[in-house]
Symmetry: C2
Subunit: 121 residues, 2 copies
Amino acid sequence: MTKYEKEIYNIITDSTGHLTVEQIYLELKKKCPKVVLATVYNNVNKLWKAGRIRKISVENMPDRYDRVIKHDHLICQKCGRLADISLEDLTASLRGQIGEEFLFYDLKIFYICPDCRKKDL
Amino acid sequence: MTKYEKEIYNIITDSTGHLTVEQIYLELKKKCPKVVLATVYNNVNKLWKAGRIRKISVENMPDRYDRVIKHDHLICQKCGRLADISLEDLTASLRGQIGEEFLFYDLKIFYICPDCRKKDL
DNA sequence: CTAAATGCAAACTATTTGCAACGAT
DNA sequence: ATCGTTGCAAATAGTTTGCATTTAG
């Protein structure tokens, strides 16, 4: 792991934020002002391919990055805010239903977050 | 519904293919050679906002469009191929665990498809 | 006649790549 | 000395927008 790789990894795992590359870049620039966006992209991809971070794609949003420890996501359909949630593990049940092995699953729950619900009133 | 909107809707719902905008565009051009890509984007977005089609985002792939009838997806981690699968409905269980209402959920199962498994041998 | 839909080109966002310079073994 | 990493700029992919023109009600 290189210096930037480590820094970026820490930024992602220290934050509860599900950061975009842009946000990681801005955060990293505080410590390393000369870093460029492409370096962040390169390192997040490297970390992702190595399975050290998780990538979260949601319709109409830039990709976000997260810890790998297993958990699900609650996503606000209005503002895109993403919250972690730990739901019952489905692995065994899914394996049974599918009838064969799989790598992993991804469960996203879409809702309207409290803030957006307020705004709608 | 305009002519193109209808055509695009039919292309999406008639296909089992989970088409990208590019594929929809190529398909539509067979019937309407003068249509441009932006029109496909505009109409797909319109249909999606109206809730008439479903958008599927997967890490590192262009968005794909699908019927709205509820079903889950099996996705090949290698080639991105997407297959429909009907799994047990989780709505009640999730509502119980979350403790509040949500809009819908999205469940994706990642695996290596038979074709890619063969290639790896 | 009016409002919405289309074609077209340009803009934009997110991301990747090529390459020269740099840094750490 | 070598090889991977970085900075930088340019390229690419996917998507959206502005505007003049066409189409449909």
